[in-house]
Amino acid sequence: MNSSLDKLLAILRRDVLTAIRHRSGFVVTLVGVFTELAAFYYLSRAIGPGFRPDGVAYFPFLLVGTGLYTFFVMSAQAFLSVVQEAQQTGTLEVLMTTSTAPGELVILSSISTFAGSLTNLAVYLFAGIAVFRAAIHADISSCLVVLALSLAIALALGILAATFQVAFHKGSALLWLLGSGLWFLSGTMFPVQSLPRPLQLLSRAVPFTYAIDALRGALLEGRSIGALAPTLAALAVFAIALLPLALCGLSLSLRRARQCGTLSFY
């Protein structure tokens, strides 16, 4: 346990130092957050107060949808970048020869990665609420449950992207699907009910739909855990199904890469 904590601290330290020394990255991210929020704020003003999807004002609706969706994509992207960089520099092979088991290394690395994505989400939501005056009525406990389940799903997606990268050297394909293919199905910018019936059914197979819906309910409408139970249950099912699948896939792809000598191929 002490050893794992020690390793987690080493990974966090590595990531924080690397991020701090990429000073321009910080500034660009902050500018990006404010530019995006400003665009959504003025978009919602242009559309007018009459448009209230799911009974809430449009700007908070966008704030939660895009914030959480970006969290999912960023998490997978960050995870994928870690693997791609490790392949390009050769650190992946070396990391696989340390005394730390690959599974433990992945989990510990993910904690660090998701700490970054969660901080980004927190800054995004805080800026939307504090600077752009998005009206909220939060139930903190249900918000935390939604975030915990979202975290588990993001972890699974990140590991799946890493698996694709190790197995096919094409993790970016999965990322493209997440980034471009699924956003319009998951109610990020408009209610799922606006979609044709077949696409509405398809959207139910996308975990983001439930996560975004649940966070809107918890953060904007103050809905309790009990009131959100069906959505939370669906999220939990996705998490329970996806996490072991992703871990198993990564384990198999790493073993296969060691068999084929392709650990550092990219």
Binding site: T89, V94, M96, S99, T100, R258
Partner: protein, 268 residues
């Protein structure tokens, strides 16, 4: 007891066609990296792996480090099987590869070593002292707090050695460790290798440098096209020229340096 044992190890790299390969001309088939290779190395031995490019030297080291898995046969390190007990094997092995860029560029040399030492479970109270020691041993004291993105190729290679040494492995694997080192650093490394051997570390050293092999090795493993041509002890009076002559005689390769040496009137 033998620290590293190869028993009838075969390693094949299969070139699998990419998806939709019918639009390309990608090569398929397989490359036999090692064929039925058996040898062992004991504690305190320095084994020089010689052989032409593609003879299987690096594959041998990667199999011991668990970076690769054997297709047939078994690789054991310290009594543990590299396939079934990879974790236990990894605890005992340190590896420094030839093209060493595998560091985090925005961390300093010390920070990189601290990171890898933590993952290698070097006890926290010993970590700082050991890092100082290996930085000294590899001549990187003055670059301790320099970001490795500013390192030269030779410095990267020294840092790779430092990383392999910091866990104090029972088996040290070195793939062309002096390829980018200057003469003084190479000599210093040879002294370090001999000292490690006296401390009962098994060292396996893949090299193309006959002088290096003669300077440090106690045994010679000569590979050619994935097969062992010879595996024997080295006599203390065997020189680099002896090894060169043996190498070209057994591999059947042409020593293109000989006519030039003769033209220059130098003894071959």
């Amino acid at each position: 007891m033998d620290q590293v044992v190869f028993e009838s190890v075969t390693k094949i790299f299969r070139h699998r066609p990419a998806l939709f390969n019918w639009v390309g001309r990608e090569r398929t088939g397989e490359t036999l990296a090692l064929k039925n290779v058996s040898f062992s190395a004991a504690r305190g031995e320095v084994v020089a792996l010689l052989g032409p490019n593609g003879s299987g030297k690096t594959s041998t080291l990667k199999l011991i480090s668990t970076m690769l898995l054997a297709d047939a046969g078994s690789v054991c390190v310290g009594g543990f099987d590299a396939q079934r007990e990879a974790g236990k094997v990894r605890r005992q092995v340190g590896i420094a590869v030839a093209t060493e860029r595998s560091f985090f560029p925005r961390l300093s040399a010390r920070e990189n070593l601290d990171f890898f030492a933590t993952l290698d479970e070097v006890p926290r109270p010993d970590r700082a002292r050991r890092i100082e020691e290996v930085l000294h041993d590899t001549g990187l004291e003055e670059q301790t707090d320099t970001l490795v993105m500013k390192f030269s190729t030779g410095m990267y290679q020294r840092l790779g050695l430092a990383r392999a040494l910091v866990k104090r492995p029972a088996v040290l694997l070195l793939d062309e460790p002096t390829r980018s080192l200057d003469a003084a650093a190479s000599t210093h490394l040879w002294i370090t290798i001999r000292a490690l051997a006296r401390q009962r570390t098994a060292v396996l050293l893949a090299t193309h440098n006959f002088t290096e092999a003669a300077a440090v090795a106690s045994r010679l493993l000569l590979l050619h096209r994935g097969e062992i041509l010879t595996y024997r002890s080295l006599r203390s009076d065997e020189s680099a020229d002896d090894l060169r002559a043996l190498y070209f005689r057994l591999t059947g390769e042409v020593d293109e340096s000989q006519p030039a040496i003769q033209r220059a009137g130098m003894p071959s």
